[in-house]
């Protein structure tokens, strides 16, 4: 997933980074094809070049040698709402047919089966980032037809489509999973399978999704990670195997 996600980044992108796999993916991209990524953390670190794998998005290593530090008011108002962020990374306990993401509760809000951490900056990242990359392992539980709670809006839902709602950002453009990649249909925003890893089959992917999954006619077959990518991830970027 980290290798695949890293390929979604273009050199020079201004990226709002979360912790864990997105952070790994960004640093892999920076070490390979996108040396000029600008990494921004909601904690306020701008142009971070962490010399250790940060455990939290507020790690001191994100500040040392960064290009700048912004207050969180500036990060959310001027950077994110201001339309300056090209890519936002999101995870989530549930992702649905239209890319709506739930990181708030499983079950009803007032009597949750599982209480999740909540939005953090996810709601506004989903609204404002030019494109959102979602990184989440695929499973029927995590990819229901409709999420229990919309923390971060996708392409359509009970409040309308992004266009009807006037959302400025592009929403979840790529959903990178452990078996393949989904993308919203240009027609109705429903997630479709657009690419698959060599180890997976279309039937397997379909069985892990809570709606009848459409498959793009030009389905891509991704090559396995190169030895160099695996080496970078395992030996350089996450030597203590915190995330992989």
């Amino acid at each position: 997933m980290a290798v695949r996600a890293s390929k979604e980044l273009h050199d020079g992108d201004v990226v709002f980074v979360g912790i864990g796999l997105p952070n790994l993916a960004c640093n892999l991209a920076r070490a390979t094809h996108a040396p000029d990524l600008v990494l921004i953390y909601e904690s306020g670190a701008v142009g971070a070049v962490p010399d250790r794998l940060p455990v939290s998005i507020g790690d001191p290593a994100l500040v040392t040698d960064s290009l700048g530090v912004a207050s969180m008011a500036d990060i959310f108002q001027f950077y994110l709402q201001g339309g300056r962020i090209q890519v936002g990374f999101l995870g989530g306990a549930q992702v649905d047919r239209y890319g709506n993401i739930n990181s708030t509760v499983i079950g009803p809000y007032d009597k949750p089966k599982v209480r999740l951490p909540g939005s953090g900056g996810a709601c506004e990242i989903a609204i404002h980032a030019e494109r959102v990359i979602v990184v989440a392992p695929l499973s029927a539980r995590s990819f229901p037809a409709a999420v229990d709670f919309v923390t971060s809006p996708g392409h359509a839902g009970k409040y309308g489509t992004r266009k009807q709602l006037g959302l400025p950002g592009g929403g979840p453009q790529r959903i990178v999973t452990d078996v393949g990649v989904l993308e919203p249909s240009p027609d109705d925003g429903e997630l479709e399978l657009v690419g698959i890893y060599p180890s997976a089959t279309v039937d397997e992917v379909r069985s892990k999704v809570g709606w009848p999954l459409r498959v793009r006619s030009d389905l891509e077959k991704y090559p396995p990670p190169t030895a160099e990518e695996l080496r970078l991830l395992r030996e350089v970027l996450d030597p203590t195997h915190l995330y992989i």
Partner: protein, 310 residues
């Protein structure tokens, strides 16, 4: 003309015990801010020791600091935007309080980060609300009636609003301040400035109290002016297990270990006894953690100064 650089007439320096006794009251709306960086655990521990009750505690990320306050039964309401142990998992005391009312029931009021930042900004600016382009398409407004809308008088577009948050007391941890509370922070700022200006009372806790001349030598580093500060507390290592850039690193091991401590209610109670109730102050807490200073003390990475001459 008279330079007044180093003069200190009114010192606000007190002990943490005195600051909390005087400025934090039962039923208060209390904010201990700091985003990952500079979270004042020392103040939370003193609040626990003085057995404050019925607090409404507000923070973007409750973090371990509020998990502890909640476990100790100090809080009746939590206002927040992301409740987890970063990179580790759940906040178990918080979940027990919400799900089972243990040790006391906990009401919650939930926003996103931007919503919380905006609430503090409105509070600091003495505006009753703050407009933001947010929440459309999300279920958050459906479960929080305080997220409302306003119509733009120019474009007729509808924008989300959140109400001002004006804490009774905000507690800020900073690297250094003078005795009047003129405080300098570097590294991550979080929402410290907004939370301080929004508050009726401000407690400034610092790693070091310095001469005013140190502050005046580099005025652009000052984040919070002393005239809005009510008490200044010198509490080295007061942010542990959080961190202070240039002073000590984040204790990531502690955050990981907390998961096990807090998962079990009895074990968490005995942790509070040992590390909070049974210690007099932060110095005594640090004495119980041999080797911690050596493990976490910051390495030197000094920047150059700049010229303020004219």
């Amino acid at each position: 003309m008279k330079p007044a650089g180093s003069k200190v007439v009114t010192s606000k320096v007190v002990t943490m015990k005195d600051a909390v006794a005087r400025l934090v009251r039962d039923g208060d709306v209390v904010v201990i801010e700091g985003f990952t960086h500079l979270i004042c655990f020392a103040a939370a521990h003193e609040i626990i020791r003085q057995r404050r009750k019925d607090l409404t505690i507000c923070r973007l990320t409750p973090d371990l600091v509020y998990d502890q306050l909640i476990a100790a039964g100090c809080a009746r309401k939590l206002v927040f935007s992301w409740a987890g142990n970063p990179g580790v998992g759940s906040l178990h005391a918080l979940r027990r309080a919400i799900e089972k009312g243990v040790p006391v029931p906990l009401e919650i009021e939930e926003y996103s980060h931007f919503g919380m930042v905006a609430r503090f900004s409105a509070g600091a600016a003495k505006l009753p609300f703050w407009p933001l382009s947010d929440y459309r398409g999300s279920d958050l407004p459906a479960v929080n009636p305080l997220i409302r809308t306003v119509r733009c008088p120019y474009t007729d577009v509808e924008l989300a609003t959140v109400p001002a948050l004006n804490p009774d007391v905000t507690i800020i941890h900073a690297q250094r301040a003078d005795a009047e509370g003129n405080a300098q922070i570097w590294g991550l700022y979080g929402v410290q400035k907004e939370a301080a200006f929004a508050a009726k009372r401000v407690i400034m806790v610092v790693e070091e109290i310095v001469e005013s001349a140190v502050v005046r030598a580099d005025p652009n580093r000052t984040l919070i002016p002393g005239f809005i500060v009510d008490a200044v507390v010198c509490e080295p290592w007061g942010a542990h297990p959080s961190y202070a850039q240039g002073y000590y690193d984040r204790d990531n091991d502690f955050y990981v270990a907390w998961d096990e401590v807090s998962r079990d209610e009895a074990r968490l109670r005995s942790w509070l006894d040992e590390f909070v109730h049974d210690v007099a102050d932060r110095a005594a807490y640090m004495d119980k953690m041999p080797g911690l200073r050596e493990r976490l003390k910051a390495k030197p990475r000094f920047c150059e100064g700049v010229n303020y001459g004219f």
